[in-house]
């Protein structure tokens, strides 16, 4: 019984030593000191609370989110980058824990559709403006003389004055 445990412990110790070495090898940030709450919040902001709607993990007061923040701290201490941490959570809990859907597959639609719509809107604007300015009108509009603007303004103020004083 104890033998098995001892072997398991030894395996664990050995493997964790290996992990530590392996990480140290390609992650110089490994021996950085424990991450500050601000660094944790930076990452937590990019994740959504899995249980409550509309709150990110940094602002969420629930127990789950506290555990997630702790986990982010661990991952940061291991030297993981922000992106790797986000991928870690997305892989485990699903893409809907990310504040913005990942840019692949169907999710690309969230960005592409508005861009298409805006371009279509601009196109419509250009087309309408072109057509309208070219279209002959029933009432021919005489060109406004270049200094009529100020006069028109003065006239309007005066008109409004008069119509009120009547």
């Amino acid at each position: 019984m104890f033998g098995v445990l001892r072997v398991a412990l030894r395996c664990l110790a050995f493997s964790s030593l290996w992990v530590v070495l392996a990480l140290a090898w390609d992650a110089p940030g490994m021996f950085a000191q424990t991450p500050s709450p601000d660094e944790i919040n930076r990452v937590a902001k990019m994740l959504s609370c899995p249980t409550c709607a509309g709150i990110n993990v940094a602002d969420c007061p629930t127990e789950t989110c506290a555990q997630w923040r702790a986990k982010i701290g661990e991952l940061l201490a291991e030297g993981k980058t922000d992106q790797e941490i986000l991928e870690y959570f997305a892989a485990r809990y699903g893409d809907h824990v990310l504040q913005v859907p990942p840019t692949r597959g169907f999710f690309l639609g969230v960005w592409i559709v508005p861009i298409i719509a805006i371009l279509a809107g601009l196109g419509t604007f250009g087309y309408l403006a072109h057509r309208w300015t070219k279209r002959p009108t029933a009432i021919e509009s005489p060109a406004v003389p270049s200094d009529a603007v100020e006069d028109e303004y003065v006239k309007r103020v005066e008109q409004e004055l008069q119509s009120w004083q009547k």
Binding site: I55, Q99, V100, R135, T137, D147, V149
Partner: protein, 709 residues
């Protein structure tokens, strides 16, 4: 017993609203004037009956009659009387009753005020408002439950179950037993912001039904001239005023209560209120073009129809829970019914629009791209673009789950990135528009008007770029790219500001020249006799101030989280005023209300060595709900807020965790909001000139009718 009376009033109101719609329709069609009068009386009776129903509901809430399910859901014995009353809009059934009541009052006011002047439009106005009202009343009067057994007979068991459940949605539904105490109101809602926020939003939502009703009436009676546009102008402004106030108060509440240092989270519920505001604002602007130039008639119809649909859709979003999950949608009958209603009204509107396209021809063409018409068109497209982005981001989770079977969340980063630049462009059109004369202008003329604003704007941008405080952000990681757009945007704000100032100055100068008034009288009279125009400028000024706050908090917010032992302190540097030092002096406990206990941290705040004051951020514990709520503490100044929350504590307060934010320029958002409201109120206020215009439009359309008949 008294609850039964309320229920009867509700049911009668439902039946009468349908009667009024039918009577108005038939009376107009067969020219039976008595029926139209009867319809009008029906509208008034519905308003009366719903007032009675609301009074009875309030009575039940106040007396803690927990046999009534709604009362038990939203109140408990320990709540102060005031909160018991406001619990009327604290839950689903009560909110829908409240909404219906406001709708009934608006409809009655519209019919009474328009009866003499716009008689031709009245029957259809009654039809639209009463059918809308009937739909809402059908949700809370339990009538859909009647469908349960026929559906069951047809073998549609899920549908039958959903409809049967609708019975419990009436605010007068009585339980088989009387609970000892109720659940009480969600603690988050026990704040004055949440007391006034829903009524303001509902007033805004309901208000937009009236212009829509007039639009439909104008279309169907072919009175598509000046009349409906002039009549609905004030209704639209009133609705818009309430909606704007609702949004601002909501932001203020979120900032002061939710304790995350923000005020707008692009939450589906927030978006639901923002979307009709966006299209409504577009409508307010493009209507001016129709008044002045007889253009954009179809477009205006489309805009008001979209706004109406969004009002219903918004109520649906907030009431059905569809966005949090598609499954929540299918668990209640409310969602499918709402969606069906939105779809039906959209289809009817579009068909009507197509049938009447011939009467909506433009009277003028666009003379030039350098004209106010063109700028207004651009402004409309921008509003619609922002609306579409918001709409898409809000419904994308649903679309994704339905079409691809993948859950997703579309959070604030998406909205900020896509809508941010669009809002900036919008401010640009806002700045230029007043300088653009109608029809066309010469480049030289425009250049002369633009000279000062452009110079001031450029000077601001360049000045900020070389200012050390600003440049400091250029070197911070992640912000280096922002410095250019941010300073450019500040330049844009100054540009707009100078344009507005210039407009006021030109008006004052003209008055001084014409009638020799002093500066102050000239300013006062200018505003007094042109409320709409200068009220509009004031609204724009408010927008500039709001934008100032939005940029400040979006780009320059500083935040930090610290765990402190008693006596320890931390620092947080403000980009504008200096470094704050926050010292934790200990915890204190107090009793806020009968059922609320507060634990607060005592913090000493100094800035650059000077004592600023004491702040006490805390957590309120609501005993009945067993729920804790953070209460942020703030130090306000015109430059910024220092905003601190107590996130938690250990060992009886030996150590505690704080989150601190410096929110640059945030108070300009609230000040700008007040200016905005003031400007709108000024534009809404009736002027003699405006009254005369409506009278003229009425007599003109009166002639048309006599000529035809």
């Amino acid at each position: 017993m008294i609850a039964d009376l309320g229920y009867v009033a509700l049911l009668l109101a439902f039946v009468l609203s349908i009667f009024a719609a039918l009577a108005a329709w038939l009376g107009e069609r067969h020219r039976i004037i008595e029926l139209v009068f009867s319809a009008r009386n029906g509208v008034l009776a519905v308003a009366g009956l719903l007032t009675l129903a609301v009074l009875i509901e309030l009575f039940l809430l106040l007396n803690s009659d927990f046999r009534v399910m709604y009362v038990a859901q939203v109140t408990n014995r320990a709540m102060p009387a005031f909160f018991k009353l406001t619990a009327l809009w604290g839950g689903q059934a009560g909110s829908l009753l409240f909404w219906s009541w406001l709708m009934a009052l608006f409809a009655a006011a519209a019919v009474l005020s328009g009866w003499q002047r716009t008689r031709i439009l009245m029957p259809k106005v009654i039809v639209v408002t009463q059918l809308t009202l009937a739909f809402f009343l059908s949700l809370i009067s339990g009538v859909w439950a009647l469908l349960a057994s026929p559906l069951e007979a047809l073998g549609m068991t899920t549908g039958a179950a959903l409809m049967a459940e609708m019975e419990t949605l009436t605010p007068f539904y009585q339980l088989a037993f009387t609970p000892v105490d109720g659940n009480g109101l969600n603690p988050l809602l026990r704040h004055w912001g949440m007391i006034v926020h829903p009524p303001l939003l509902y007033l805004g939502f309901v208000g937009f039904v009236i212009p829509f009703a007039f639009a439909v009436a104008a279309l169907s009676t072919r009175q598509t001239g000046d009349l409906w546009i002039r009549v609905i102008r004030r209704w639209t402004l009133v609705a818009w005023l309430f909606l704007s106030m609702g949004l601002l108060v909501g932001m203020w509440w979120a900032y002061g209560v939710l304790g995350w240092g923000g005020y707008w989270g692009w939450d589906p519920v927030e978006n639901a209120a923002l979307m009709p505001w966006l299209t409504g604002t577009a409508f307010l602007h493009s209507v001016i073009i129709q008044e002045r130039r007889g253009m954009f008639k179809v477009w205006n119809m489309v805009l008001i129809m979209i706004t109406y649909s969004l009002v219903i859709f918004g109520t649906f979003l907030t009431r059905s829970g569809v966005v949090s999950s598609v499954h929540a949608f299918a668990q209640s009958g409310v969602g499918p019914l709402f969606l069906g209603f939105v779809g039906a009204t959209l289809i009817v509107s579009v068909v009507l629009l197509f049938l009447r396209l011939d009467s909506l021809r433009s009277e003028h063409a666009l003379d030039s791209l350098v004209s106010r018409e063109a700028i207004f068109l651009l402004n409309n497209l921008l509003f619609l673009a922002i609306f579409f982005v918001t709409f898409w981001g809000t419904i994308f989770p649903v679309v994704s789950e339905l079409l691809a079977g993948q859950k997703a969340i579309v959070g604030p980063p998406f909205f900020n990135q896509v809508n941010g630049p669009l809002f900036a462009l919008l401010v640009l059109t806002m700045g230029i528009a007043p300088l653009m004369p109608w029809r066309r202008t010469s480049p030289a003329k425009l250049a002369r008007l633009l000279a000062w604003p452009v110079l001031a704007g450029l000077a601001t941008t360049l000045g900020l770029l070389v200012t050390p405080a600003m440049r400091q952000f250029a070197v911070l990681p992640g912000t280096s790219l922002r410095i250019v757009p941010v300073t450019a945007f500040y330049g844009l704000l100054v540009f707009t500001l100078v344009v507005i100032g210039q407009e006021f100055w030109r008006g004052i100068r003209t008055r001084r020249r014409a009638i020799g008034e002093t500066y102050w009288t000239a300013l006062l009279n200018l505003v007094r006799y042109n409320r709409r125009r200068y009220g509009g400028y004031l609204v724009h000024l408010g927008v500039v101030m709001i934008a100032l706050g939005v940029i400040g908090t979006n780009f320059f917010k500083v935040e930090t989280q610290r765990n402190l032992a008693q006596g320890e302190s931390f620092t947080i540097a403000s980009p504008l005023t200096g470094t704050y030092t926050v010292t934790y002096e200990g915890l204190s406990a107090s009793i806020v209300a009968e059922d609320v206990r507060r634990t607060a941290a005592v913090l000493k705040i100094t800035r650059e060595g000077q004592l600023v004051g004491m702040l006490q951020p805390g957590q309120d514990f609501f005993i009945a709900q067993e729920q804790a709520m953070t209460t942020p503490a703030m130090y306000h100044s015109l430059a910024e807020d220092l905003y601190i929350i107590l996130a938690g504590w250990e060992n009886g307060g030996a150590t505690a965790t704080f989150k601190a934010y410096v929110e640059p320029l945030i108070n300009w958002l609230w000040i700008g909001g007040l200016v905005f409201i003031l400007g709108t109120a000024m534009a809404v206020w009736p002027t003699p000139v405006e009254e005369r215009r409506i009278a003229m439009a009425t007599s003109a359309s009166g002639r048309v009718v006599t000529a035809r008949s």
